[in-house]
């Protein structure tokens, strides 16, 4: 059976294999996260009884995904969310007062006729083709492309788990029901019989009519006022009538809802590139499962293709078929640092970088089964994606320096020096007021599932972390720039979220005007001593009018000097102007993230929010001075486009990168030590060796009083609103540690660098291969609370080298 991807596995074997996979994935009797998620979705169904048939092409792709994210965010924002449901209690419906299911405005806008037409159109296709799937696929594709434009509206209306507490937002809940595409059995008819499908609910038909027209009208887009949730019942995890064994795992964790904001607190649904999208098509209807199976199985055989995975063997152990996504993204050229001799070039100077975009981007590429372009690989961003156990700063400086030396795993005799920096943690509760202006690219190119909807999700996540003394504004640009939301008090979340949701894309990009407007808004609301930031979300297709990238960089730098910083979030693929996005944040006192999933959005805007928003030191430069007596040559791994001239180090007019609260920064040097002859005492003249550098035949003399230091790390930084830099110096002696004496962090950072080098096909890779990286990384996994290292391991396995 060549089209069976488990050739060697019998069905029974397959069944047990799956049991084992589930068993090893999850400990415990019940997956309470899942059940709580489901509970919330069932609540919604209860409030929106589906009586209509569904358009099979409407989108549910991202619902489950951001439900899960919603849960994660719920954990991140305690005391803000209420999750109630039958899985956790036996109480009857607590939502007295929220009786209204369909706000009157919705009813008025319904159009059963249009819906009928849409239905019959599809039905007609099915009837005439008599089960030919090719034409049905075409219909689907067409509906899908139309529905993409819908996606932002639709997605915006979807309700992540945590917000289900806002039962008042009936409007978007009904939208979601439309989107979930599951129809009641009443209206569905087996295709074989070819009877007309019924149209039921007005809400559903309203949706269909908009699909037919291609986009929602203005009226449709703005949600009607709905009643706020009148009741918020605190979760009591000790309820004895809890249907689950372990109540404490329920999402309550003491979460009490403090009067949820009125209507829309929804966030859009991101679809993760390459991930499965489940379309709850309504075709299982009245036909029994078995007969439909038979029918579909034969048709699938007709149209099915066989995909041979790279390693068939792997399938027999743990099958996974990679998805293919095209990428036409553009990357700048990266030229790696080469070995320099310490004698000729004792100083190495670079600007620090806390961006992580390169890692999340290459994660997306690897997960989709593509080969990573070498220029997309910025090793320092890969290393800095992870969290490390660097010691907290104590004392006057806002960060602490942590140094370590160990062996190079890929070049015998060489050493790796790890230079670590840890920024002080500013407590989220005591952070200064934020003045944020979102600058959102809503041009036509943002019109895909992994772009604008995900942008909305990311922004909504961020907004959730805002408070009353924060200010949020939204500027959009596409063809024309405009203010989608004037600077608004951060406590008025519903208003802000509403503005985010209602964004739709279209038009070409005019980034220049948009960015200038955004900065102006930010400047107008400037908070002295606070966080002033423009957050740009784009796919990089930044048709910036007459501005070149350099001009943009200048603008960003200038604004940074005045105290308004920039964060850039890249989205999507196929258009990603990675080079440009990285450039405008390099020295522009900005940070650059690539958001490939809701999970990443949550990391950047929730978990790591303080680091994202709060700069604790700016223009941070590092200069390492190598001791030629101990170091023959050295090579800085990564930071290829962060190098500074040595004299830039002490020049305060020269910009460099920033460190955010809690950030850690790691730089690795590979060193070829001089004198691999530790047992020869100083002052000895070696008879049988010549000093080649001396240019003439001269005996090698082991220098006397040679400092034992390997190097000294010098660091300059400015306070966020400072003008002059402060200097720190830390010398380092190589203690000769072997690999097993190095820290997990050392080995992990080195493993990550190793993967980067392999992906870039580095000339310095030496003995490096995938297995070596894997072994190193596995040994360094440690506690891995955020599971990022585990994810890394899988990337190493899956990467095409």
């Amino acid at each position: 059976m060549s089209d069976n991807n488990h050739d060697d596995l019998s069905s029974e074997d397959l069944a047990i294999d799956a049991l084992l996979r589930e068993h090893s994935h999850f400990e415990g009797t019940a997956d309470t996260d899942f059940l709580a998620n489901l509970d919330a979705r069932l609540d919604e169904v209860d409030h929106n009884p589906p009586e209509a048939t569904k358009d099979a092409e409407t989108k549910t792709r991202s619902l489950p995904i951001f439900m899960a994210v919603g849960m994660a965010i719920a954990a991140c924002l305690p005391a803000m969310l209420l999750i109630q449901g039958r899985f956790s209690s036996n109480e009857k419906d607590d939502y007295s007062g929220n009786a209204e299911i369909h706000p009157p405005e919705l009813m008025a806008r319904t159009s059963p006729v249009a819906a009928n037409e849409a239905m019959t159109q599809k039905q007609g296709v099915q009837q005439s083709s008599g089960g030919s799937f090719a034409s049905l696929d075409e219909v689907r594709d067409e509906m899908n492309s139309q529905s993409f434009r819908e996606e932002s509206e639709f997605a915006a209306a979807s309700d992540p788990i945590g917000r289900s507490s806002a039962r008042s937002s009936e409007w978007f809940k009904s939208k979601k029901t439309e989107g979930s595409a599951a129809a009641s059995m009443d209206g569905i008819v087996p295709r074989e019989k070819g009877e007309a499908m019924e149209v039921g609910d007005e809400t559903e038909s309203r949706f269909l009519s908009s699909v037919k027209n291609g986009r929602l009208s203005e009226a449709d887009r703005s949600p009607p006022k709905a009643k706020p949730a009148s009741q918020s019942v605190p979760m009591d995890s000790e309820r004895s009538d809890n249907l689950f064994a372990d109540a404490e795992a329920t999402r309550s964790r003491g979460a009490t809802l403090a009067s949820p904001p009125a209507p829309l607190v929804a966030s859009p649904a991101p679809a993760i590139a390459g991930e499965a999208t489940v379309n709850g098509a309504a075709h299982f209807g009245l036909v029994t499962a078995e007969t439909l199976e038979t029918k579909l199985a034969s048709e699938l055989r007709f149209e099915g293709q066989v995909i041979t995975p790279d390693s068939v063997d792997d399938l027999n152990f743990h099958g996974r078929i990679p998805q293919q996504t095209p990428a036409r993204d553009s990357y700048g050229q990266l030229k790696d640092n080469v070995f320099k001799t310490a004698k000729q070039h004792p100083l190495s100077t670079f600007s620090i970088d806390v961006d992580t975009a390169s890692y999340s981007n290459l994660r997306r590429i690897i997960t989709s089964g593509q080969k990573v372009p070498a220029d997309a690989v910025r090793i320092e961003e890969m290393i800095n994606y992870f969290s490390y156990d660097y010691p907290q700063p104590e004392g006057e400086h806002p960060f602490a320096i942590d140094l370590e030396v160990g062996p190079s795993p890929w070049a015998e005799g060489n050493r790796i020096v790890r230079v670590g920096l840890k920024g002080v943690d500013v407590d989220e509760d005591t952070r200064p007021s934020a003045n944020l202006v979102f600058l959102l690219d809503v041009s036509g190119s943002m019109n895909s599932h992994d772009k604008l909807p995900l942008v909305k999700k990311a922004m909504s996540t961020l907004v959730e972390g805002m408070a009353g003394d924060d200010t949020v504004g939204i500027v959009i640009y596409a063809g024309r720039e405009g203010i989608a939301l004037p600077p608004t008090d951060g406590g008025r979340k519903s208003q802000i979220l509403k503005a985010i949701q209602s964004l739709s894309s279209g038009g070409s990009t005019n980034g220049e005007a948009g960015i200038k407007l955004a900065y102006r808004l930010a400047q107008n609301q400037f908070v002295k001593g606070g966080i002033n930031r423009v957050v740009l979300c784009t796919d990089g297709d930044f048709n910036a009018g007459t501005s070149s990238t350099d001009e943009l960089v200048d603008l960003v730098k200038k604004k940074a000097k005045s105290g308004v910083f920039l964060s850039v979030c890249g989205f999507g693929s196929g258009n990603l102007n990675d080079a440009m996005l990285e450039k405008i944040t390099n020295d522009g006192n900005g940070n650059y993230f690539y958001i490939d999933s809701a999970k990443e959005a949550e990391k950047v805007f929730c978990k790591d929010l303080a680091g994202t928003l709060i700069t604790i030191a700016k223009d941070v430069k590092i200069q390492v001075e190598f001791n030629p007596a101990q170091v023959e040559s050295y090579r800085l791994i990564g930071y290829a486009n962060r190098m500074l001239r040595n004299r830039d180090f002490a020049d305060d007019k020269i910009d460099a990168g920033d460190i955010g609260s809690g950030h850690n920064v790691t730089a690795l040097y590979e060193i070829t030590p001089k004198n691999a002859r530790p047992d020869v005492p100083a002052g000895t003249t070696l008879r049988y060796q010549q000093d080649e550098e001396a240019g003439e035949a001269k005996a090698v003399v082991i220098a006397e009083n040679a400092s034992p230091d390997l190097l000294t790390v010098k660091l300059r930084y400015k306070k966020p609103d400072g003008k002059t830099s402060t200097l720190l110096e830390v010398p380092l002696i190589d203690g000769g540690a072997g690999l097993d004496e190095t820290s997990n962090d050392f080995r992990h950072a080195t493993a990550v660098a190793g993967l980067g080098m392999l992906l870039r096909d580095s000339e310095f890779a030496g003995d490096l291969d995938r297995d070596l990286v894997l072994t190193l990384a596995k040994s360094a996994k440690g506690r891995d609370k955020d599971a990022r290292r585990k994810e890394f391991l899988q990337l190493v396995r899956d990467a095409k080298l």
Partner: protein
């Protein structure tokens, strides 16, 4: 069936449903959960069509299959032969006994793993719990990949038999 009842059934069956979804999509447990969640929402919406005298597990698995098929339509990965699906369904129907009698299938599975002979258990650990690939695991266990593959097959067979032995008698 009302919502309470539905919830109880889901609680009993959900993890087995995950495993079912995993075998269909040969993918990771996260994606399986997404698939199962969608299917359960669909199931709930069509609760009125569910005959309580029928088998909850089979019914939901049917919905999972349909959702899965629909997904396939778009991506066209490798489909399953019909008889593979049938056999899978049969396995799961046997395991439904655990859920139906209030026992924990996975707890029993854990016990069965523990009772495997050492080298079988080690192989299962390495592949499923440590998460090694076939090649890595073979190296870790100092054996060849083909030998390891066979060992795993035998281990899985034993586990299957063990589960069968410990299947609780269906409650009346």
């Amino acid at each position: 069936m009302d919502r309470e009842h539905f919830s109880r059934e889901v609680t009993k069956h959900h993890r087995q449903l995950f495993a079912y979804a995993i075998s269909l999509t040969s993918s990771d447990p996260h994606r399986a959960r997404d698939l199962v969640q969608e299917a359960l929402v669909t199931a709930y919406k069509n609760l009125t069509k569910f005959d309580v005298s029928r088998d909850f597990g089979s019914w939901v698995r049917g919905i999972i299959r349909n959702h899965w098929r629909d997904e396939l339509r778009k991506k066209r990965p490798v489909p399953f032969e019909h008889d593979v699906l049938e056999a899978l369904e049969e396995e799961h129907q046997h395991w439904d006994e655990f859920a139906d009698s209030g026992s924990d299938l996975f707890e029993q599975l854990g016990d069965c793993i523990a009772s495997l002979p050492d080298n079988f258990r080690a192989a299962v650990q390495q592949i499923y719990f440590v998460g090694d690939s076939g090649r890595e695991a073979a190296e870790a266990l100092a054996t060849s990949e083909s030998a390891l593959r066979k060992r795993l097959q035998r281990a899985r067979e034993q586990l299957r038999n063990c589960l069968q032995e410990h299947t609780p008698n269906p409650t009346a």
